[in-house]
């Protein structure tokens, strides 16, 4: 009997040991301390709201800063008071007055005042700043003129601070959805003294963003930032609503490889994956359905074409490429997350806007376009690159598309090259590409967030494309206060975009990710901007009525 007893003992010891290990994995330990561990895609470019432009970077900034208005935990179009406790507009929505709360504080204890916002806007719009997202502030009167250097006096830009706690924004055009717009990262304030301590106002990458130097006004403050390892933030004791902030801290992990991220999730190292690789979706559906989420997401996946370069400067060639992509196949078998094949650029939204239905997969038409472009068959098309940022999913899509172009058009000399995210962004900005993968997620709930960027000279255009008709239609649409008339005008503008195809739409996003069941209040959001202060972590057995931290 001794061996048996020994065996039983060993097995039970092992069982105890393994459950002990399971209980104390990193995600569980962090959950006990109410620390969120979030996968966040690529390494952030910066922690400065005036430099960043990607979704992952904005995710971190949302913890470190707070705008005038902030995001609601479950409703994209609801407005939560942020630094502004209330706001009002004039009759035609061209002048907005924000009344700032007295108790808003920077993470070093200083008061957040209306002047901080004015300073921030003068910084992002400054021509020397070269901010990639400055165009978000073209809503302000003379914002674009100042940014392009046509107006040199900032006092002519439509933002004023009559006193410390009042901010008046005068807009170029009537914008009833303006409170949605100011939730965006580009409208965050920055702390003037900190920025100017480490360089001049327009210096891009100074030491002010480093841990210890960084000053923000969000619910969290920066603790540590290790390149390619993590960005760690903790609750900010000076935050005006600190008592209601649920998590004690957040750690953002820049894990570029979708599969590595998923393994980290499965191994209990993180609570949430930024994405979930398509080939794993089926496995999760069968085995871990309780952690799999698939939600509507206001985003468009497309290819940018650099219209200043051969052979992309040829309209018919772009049309041929667009018509030779079988989007149905891509969403069904390659991305697999329930994405919608795009027949236009702007995703159809609940707000009522429907994009034109013109983008089609039509191989015969594609060959005809190719002939019109002046190529007898695909083999005489000059070699060009399709660049993607490092990700298995983008690579798989690119490979599928490359083969479609080869099958339907006979184009053989397309090479796929992948670039690391920061390099990739710079390459696009420098127009140093022929075709590049791109994704655009709405910044607010209105079709203009997808259409403004294609205006001439818009900082997010990055294709070299420009159309006076398009600009004029958008300008005209902006002056209409009737929503239906405005949408009709935007529809016309989008039709021009889809006729000239500086971008080749592929599909409309769905947000597919895995999240620990212990995370509470992480609701489906169309724009996916989760306000972290409302996110709670509850382990089974936790008392939900436990008083909040401190």
């Amino acid at each position: 009997m001794v061996p048996h007893r020994l065996l039983a003992l060993t097995i039970s010891a092992l069982a105890v040991f393994s459950t002990a290990c399971e209980r104390t994995d990193r995600a569980t330990r962090a959950a006990r301390d109410k620390i969120l561990l979030l996968g966040n895609g690529a390494e952030p470019k910066a922690l400065d709201p005036h430099i960043v432009s990607s979704v992952g970077d904005a995710n971190i900034l949302r913890a470190l800063f707070e705008g005038l208005v902030t995001y609601h935990p479950s409703d994209d179009s609801a407005h939560e008071p942020g630094v502004a406790k209330r706001w009002e507009a004039n009759d035609n929505f061209t002048e907005w007055t924000f009344f700032l709360r007295d108790d808003a504080r920077w993470s070093n204890g200083d008061s957040v005042t209306a002047h901080d916002f004015v300073y921030a806007y003068s910084r992002i719009l400054h021509p020397e700043m070269g901010s990639p997202y400055a165009s978000m502030l073209y809503f302000l009167k003379n914002g674009e003129a100042y940014s392009t250097g046509a107006v040199t006096d900032f006092s002519q830009v439509g933002v004023k601070a009559p006193d410390d706690h009042t901010l008046v924004c005068t807009l170029e055009d009537p914008s009833p959805y303006f409170p949605d717009v100011v939730k965006h990262t580009t409208w965050y304030p920055v702390h003037q003294a900190t920025i100017e301590k480490f360089g001049s106002m327009t210096d891009q990458f100074t030491l002010w963003q480093r841990p210890g130097n960084h000053v923000g006004n969000g619910a969290f403050r920066l603790v540590d930032w290790r390149i390619n390892t993590f960005v760690k933030v903790e609750r900010n004791p000076h935050y005006w609503d600190a008592a209601n902030v649920k998590p004690n801290g957040i750690v953002f992990f820049p894990i570029e490889n979708n599969f590595t991220e998923e393994r980290a999730f499965r191994g209990g190292l993180i609570h949430y994956t930024y994405v979930l690789a398509p080939s794993l979706i089926d496995w999760y559906r069968e085995n871990r359905t309780e952690v799999l989420r698939s939600e509507t997401y206001a985003g468009s996946y497309f290819f940018r074409c650099n219209v200043t370069r051969e052979p992309m400067n040829n309209l018919f060639f772009r049309k041929a490429l667009a018509a030779a992509i079988d989007r149905e196949t891509i969403v069904r078998y390659v991305t697999m997350g329930g994405q919608q094949p795009a027949h236009g650029f702007t995703p159809p939204s609940d707000a009522g806007y429907q994009p034109p239905d013109v983008i089609r997969f039509d191989p015969a038409k594609a060959r005809q376009y190719l002939a019109q472009a002046g190529y007898a068959d695909g083999s005489d098309v000059p070699a060009f690159d399709l660049i993607v940022n490092t990700s298995e999913q983008h690579k798989a899509i690119a490979e599928a598309v490359q083969d479609m172009w080869k099958t339907h058009l006979g184009i053989t000399r397309v090479s796929i090259s992948n670039q690391e995210w920061k390099v990739f962004q710079q390459t696009i900005l420098d127009l140093n590409y022929e075709v590049a993968r791109a994704g655009w997620i709405g910044d607010y709930v209105d079709p203009t967030t997808f259409l403004h960027m294609w205006r001439t000279g818009d900082t997010n255009n990055q294709t070299g494309w420009s159309s006076p008709d398009y600009d004029r239609l958008l300008k005209k649409a902006a002056q209409l206060s009737d929503t239906q008339a405005r949408y009709a005008m935007l529809y016309q503008a989008e039709s021009i975009l889809l006729e000239e195809l500086p971008v080749i739409p592929l599909y409309w996003y769905t947000r597919v990710y895995a999240i620990s069941p212990h995370i509470v209040n992480w609701n489906p959001l169309l724009l996916d901007n989760h306000p972290y202060k409302h996110i709670d972590i509850r382990l089974p057995g936790d008392n939900p009525d436990r008083p909040p931290y401190n």
């Binding site: 496995w283 069904r332 078998y333 083969d403 099958t407 992948n418």
Partner: protein, 312 residues
Amino acid sequence: MPSTPTASTPAPPAPDRVEKGTSLGRDAWHRLRKNKLAMCSLWFLLAMVLTCYLLPFLPLIADPNKTYPDLKSLGPFTTGESVKGPSVFYSLGSDYLGRDIFSRILHGGRVSLTVGFLATSVSLTIGVLYGAIAGFVGGRTDAAMMRVVDILYALPFLIIVIILTTYFGNQLWLLFVCIGAVEWLTMARIVRGQVLSLKKQEFIEAAQSLGLGNAAIIFRHLIPNTVGTIIVYTTLTVPAVMRLEAILSFLGLGVQPPHASWGSLIKEGADRMISDPSLLVFPSLFFAATLFSLNFLGDGLRDALDPKTSKD
């Protein structure tokens, strides 16, 4: 000026029976043939090389980059009916875009084997010559040459490759050169060490006293005596080189998608391990079998080629 006396050398007496001499190579081949494991490995490698290089030209093998997304993740020995039209037979299954795994492995093998052998021969040539010269000449030349190796050792490999690729563009031949140019350093050190100990031995003194030139001594006497070590190290280099190729391809500096190498196939497979294990298993089997046989063959060759082990 004294004239050179003409000395007539008497012709050697003709022997009754000339024993047929055997060359080093022939001896080695005889010894190698007795080593069954090494011979199996040799035939396997030959078969692998021939398959990889010739079979992709045969119509039996599918286009490795042809996608049938609706036929993805099929198991081995299945036939899929694509909505695109043709029915496709997959001998080893299909990958995440419905491409033929078998065909991709063979095409990937071409890249991996080419990189493995070419880059290794580059490193072999440079390393052996450099090390032998440094060791044989000795003194200040040796010190200077080895400091150059030290300096090159200290340079970060990836950064050099990135600089070279940005300068010359992303080309496959560059990959061979880059890897070869880095891998020769250790080879040079090893050969130098061997030569240092060999050059004090009597047979070298004998060769020198017979008036042989330096080049002849290095090529006829020193290098053949280091062959055992060289071969062992070479068989270690080939897998290392294939691994480097995989790393570079992953960073976007080597083989570009949709083309594949064994390294990139294994990487893709490792990522999809839980959902699609055959993507990992098959390329790994091919890779592992090749590396094993390279090692066994290397082992056998060392035993066969080392002149010091020749007793018969």
